[in-house]
Symmetry: C2
């Protein structure tokens, strides 16, 4: 890093909050994606004014700035592809306010998801998105990628809970969006524009979140299917039962096998397992809903249909589901977790298509995911040191994206575009939409300093 | 209208779909607000291509275009303040698709809310926002103003249900946003940018809506309060009970009196009545929730607390609530329905403030609204032919907006900004936010042809 710039950064954040040491630069070159590239330096910011002053400097000097939370993103959003400054927000980790009577929490972006969960649990409340990386990921990252999780079908994603933001714009101006109210239609919805914008439009320095009371009862069940199409049809037919399960997850055969090889859960080795949860305040209510769902399973040729008899039995099923990513990651040297989402009625077609793509390219693709909102996570398992397998993986991904879009779906349900899907943006979005997105980027960030190279916005 | 332009418009939509007759121009000069001004002509459009060709022409010739649904907006959004072309979308009224298995409906903007309700009821589904004007308002208008209703606290507003749009941009380009999936984080959230943008950024020609299954059980109760502060505190304390009521409405004394004078409902004449509904699939569930809410009512010094014994008794209470606007409208020559929204814990302060403003300016302000999400509707009742009362009304409104913002609230929960609140936008939004909104407007509509004069965007 240029000495003058380095000094200016140190003047802003202090010596202890600046680093350009090799070991830190290597650490900051990675996130949880397959990409990596080193920044020139990193700074830990502690206030919105820090962020503002850094962006003013970077904007004047045309230096790339990459905002970063915990670096758990799977698409390369926090990878500094053009070098520059990594803006580490993890020290802005205060829960500013929890106001149950107003049904909201106000937090800094570096607060870890699980820390907010803990604080809210005290009041019987929670913040529903529940990303799989919840124990480590930060709320700023959740906002940047519009993170979601297993409760998406019933409770939505991060976007549905962000009431307002404090954002530092690329030119250093500090802006407030939204409000502390449950609803507002005062002016354009700037809040939602920043949610999911992957740090390309501004740096979020404060978040106002709507929170939910926790329901106190739940019923869990599982159903096995010897046939992917039956499982897919069961998912879309649940809608006709008039019930929205609080969770509806699918595990494909490869995923089930990997779980069995790595745990003692002994799941039935079938083509697909569906796991469902219903929630409410009384077991009468949750059982009533589950009965309807189990009827749908049976009508669609489920083999075994089983209601969990106890909280322990239910927990075991969720442990199985939650272990999927980890157990699949052990099989070969590399994994890439995909995130395609289709209209629910197309889930069976997507599952069949994934099977065909896997066979054609001779690459393991183990599928699981949030069937209840059509969001599947096909996990590519391969040897990233073998150029042939890397090539196969690339070709298979491209076919998966094309298939998804052909089925009326979207490239990403909850992980974002980042670097990984930037080349595929135009598959999904028409020229006018691409043009408007790029126009908004240029409007707010004319020097393209904020997280450049992501989301296909630089064209 | 210039003869050449008139002919060009007729060439686009056909003779039957064009009018500049005096009677039509007078009709189109109004919406449900206090404003009116005549356009130069109106056209009924039938396709996105019609809209595209008209916008190309208008953009070339710099002619204002005001999109219009049913004209039920309360803030002047559909009033053609600078003349030009009214684009009447009411004939684009096809329900294109209802797909229960995908949990969505695809509609044209001119579909009346109630018509979609009817179509969905057949499947046991509904579109939750439920605006008070639902029997006549159009879904395009709902999207343009992000309409809400009595179920907002639990089910959100229109924004929460719009998955994707087809939008014609001011230069005539036809764009798709979002998708047919339950969730997506692919690129910027252009969909939500258009929701609530009041026809200033583009003309919506197709809407993809998420829909909900209808719950099958409900419990209704009412509680009376001799003291506004007790009622306000009860509302915010319900959150501590861990229950989100499906409806939680408030009626103030003036509203109660007006209802009693105009109906045979014979409501208790107290300072405030709260009406609550809980929903679910079993009465065990809805009663359980209601018990918790009624405890909160009692703890906060409610006078009478009564659970409706039958569906009829519950219906009567909702009829009372729904009659408020109409009965208050009969008292004097003019009414203006406000729409301020505050954090729930501030409801008591807002109610007290409204009482003080009413007294100070000697103007009747009858309050009711959606207590469950902090959205109150103070209804100004006055003689609009008396310049003194008009002046008082203006001064009282300005004080109400200032009070709302001082309480951390927003100018509008569900009606929008339009003309009515344009002068107050900067009370709520900081200079950076105003600048970004205006920048987005200029980016998409550089000639300011789409609904000019609204939302304080022309500066």
């Amino acid at each position: 890093m240029d000495e003058k710039i380095k000094q200016a950064l140190i003047d802003i954040v202090g010596e202890d909050n600046y680093t350009d040491s090799l070991i830190d630069m290597v650490s900051y070159s990675y996130d949880a994606s397959e990409y990596s590239q080193r920044p020139s330096c990193a700074v830990w910011v502690e206030t919105a004014e820090h962020v503002s002053n850094i962006l003013k400097l970077a904007n004047r000097e045309h230096i790339p700035v990459v905002p970063r939370g915990a670096g758990t993103g799977l698409t390369g959003t926090a990878t500094p592809v053009r070098g520059g400054i990594v803006l580490d927000l993890s020290r802005m980790n205060k829960i500013i306010k929890i106001s149950i009577e107003d049904r909201l929490a106000i937090v800094q972006p570096g607060v870890v998801y699980a820390d907010l969960e803990k604080a809210l649990a005290h009041y019987g409340f929670f913040f529903p998105p529940d990303p799989a990386s919840g124990t480590v990921c930060t709320l700023g990252g959740n906002v940047a990628t519009n993170a979601g999780g297993v409760k998406g079908a019933k409770y939505g994603t991060t976007r549905d809970y962000v009431l307002g933001l404090q954002v530092v714009l690329p030119d250093g101006r500090i802006m407030r969006t939204g409000s502390r109210t449950m609803k507002s239609v005062s002016g354009y919805d700037l809040t939602k524009l920043f949610v999911g914008s992957e740090g390309t439009l501004g740096v979020v320095t404060e978040i106002i979140l709507k929170i939910n009371p926790k329901t106190t009862a739940a019923t869990t069940s599982m159903a096995t299917f010897d046939n992917l199409e039956d499982a897919g049809r069961a998912v879309s037919q649940i809608m006709y039962s008039g019930i929205i399960p609080s969770v509806l997850e699918i595990l494909g055969r490869d995923t089930i096998m990997a779980i069995n090889q790595n745990t003692d859960l002994d799941l039935p080795e079938v083509d697909a397992i569906l796991l469902a949860e219903t929630d409410g305040y009384t077991t009468g209510e949750t059982d009533f809903q589950m009965e309807k769902i189990m009827e749908v399973f049976k009508k669609n040729n489920a083999g075994e249909v089983k209601k969990a008899k106890s909280q322990e039995e239910a927990s075991e099923l969720w442990v199985a589901r939650k272990s999927a990513y980890a157990v699949l990651s052990r099989i070969k040297t590399h994994v890439v977790l995909e995130d395609v989402t289709v209209p629910m009625a197309k889930i069976a077609d997507l599952l069949k298509g994934i099977k065909a793509i896997s066979k054609k390219h001779n690459i393991m693709i183990a599928t699981y995911g949030h069937a209840g909102d059509g969001n599947l996570h096909p996990q590519f398992v391969y040897d990233g040191y073998d150029p042939e397998q890397v090539k196969s993986k690339g070709a298979a991904s491209a076919e998966l994206f094309q298939l998804t879009v052909d089925l009326g779906g979207t490239l990403t349900g909850e992980h974002g575009i980042g670097l990984q899907k930037a080349p595929f943006m135009t598959l999904e979005h028409d020229p006018a939409a691409m043009n408007v997105m790029r126009g908004i980027k240029r409007l707010l960030d004319p020097n393209n300093i904020l997280n450049p190279g992501k989301m296909a916005l630089d064209k």
